[in-house]
Symmetry: C2
Subunit: 241 residues, 2 copies
Amino acid sequence: MFKETNARSLFKGISWRILATTTTIILVYMFFNRLDLAIIAGIIETILKVALYWGHERVWHKIRWGKKRIEPFNLWFTGLPLSGKTTIADAVFKELNKLQIPIERLDSKDIRDVVPDIGFSRKDRNIHMKRIGHLIKTLQNNSISTVASFVSPYRESRKTIREMVKNNIVVYIKANIETCKKRDRKGKYEKATKGEYQNFTGVNDIYEEPQHAEITIDTDKLSVDEATKIIVKYVKKNYVK
Amino acid sequence: MFKETNARSLFKGISWRILATTTTIILVYMFFNRLDLAIIAGIIETILKVALYWGHERVWHKIRWGKKRIEPFNLWFTGLPLSGKTTIADAVFKELNKLQIPIERLDSKDIRDVVPDIGFSRKDRNIHMKRIGHLIKTLQNNSISTVASFVSPYRESRKTIREMVKNNIVVYIKANIETCKKRDRKGKYEKATKGEYQNFTGVNDIYEEPQHAEITIDTDKLSVDEATKIIVKYVKKNYVK
């Protein structure tokens, strides 16, 4: 969040003065047809009014009225591991950041890096979702929108998020499991198949497809750029006015 | 976070116009000693410039320059159960809220209500602290200050918070354990003594006193009002300019 510096108020005063004094000079000249008087009036007005404008700005800076709270949204990317959630969410975040709205990126991996003891059982995942929901809600209290990417394989945990936050947009990143395996350079699917990972979604844990996703992206048919455009367009149309 | 409405820009234009046109009328009158011309000039100027001012406001609303990011802080209240952390933190939060800075209240109880499976062992508490640290850090990324009250009995977990967040202000709410017990209408201390609670700080779990608290409040000597004043004064002096 931002506050207006004194310098900003002063420069606004100067930029306004150039616009306004030019108008005044033209007006005085049209009335009296005397350029000398018009210019002297312009000079006196300039000096006096830059100072007045600056004071006027500082007073209004303190007034709350007419400052409208920005309505936040939550983009929730769900899908199989390596379906492309993080890549697309990153691209969408980059685009939305250009709109000068307060927005935060939340990725499963980053959060699990900070707090590594979360676990992957159904119970652990559900508790984890509740915490993420609380985080998003707290950010939303402060008008901050979120771009969140989490496997979130269970309907119940996605429902928890939907109930906790407002303006929730579920983006289902749909990918054939064979496609995900092809993208898997670190061999995570292979390790899970060998039993090295427990509760690995798509191998030894289920992924329950979303039934009410606001947006479904079929990554077998759409490129990252195309997907990004669809999602950004949806957000702009519904939440950024 | 806020955005400026069209109406606000228009009303700023009108309020500025009253100020500016009065000046113009006085100037024209001083120059030509003719009130009729001065008033006509004033009227034309008014109509033209309210529209110009409004346009000027909308353009500046889009310009980032001179909007300074607000520097967030974290007030961290620590102390024994029932030492008065929540009461004082609530009062401080109420006062700071009046300063029109973005600020969020985080209380141990509220968070444990949302996610009840946190636990009270040393390991559980430390993981919990890391999560809270992550939450505060995310809020700080968005210029949001925090008033947090957590027993946080271990030095290592308070150190974790200090390392994760910026402008950390530890407020140690010091209270004699006998005083805490007297305040304990729900009989929590008694239950803990009977063994009904495990890891209850002050009974069957230790509280490690802070060694580097920025502020220490002795609740045996200071009232809630006095404590609030000291803390708010500290914040105003160091972080709200």
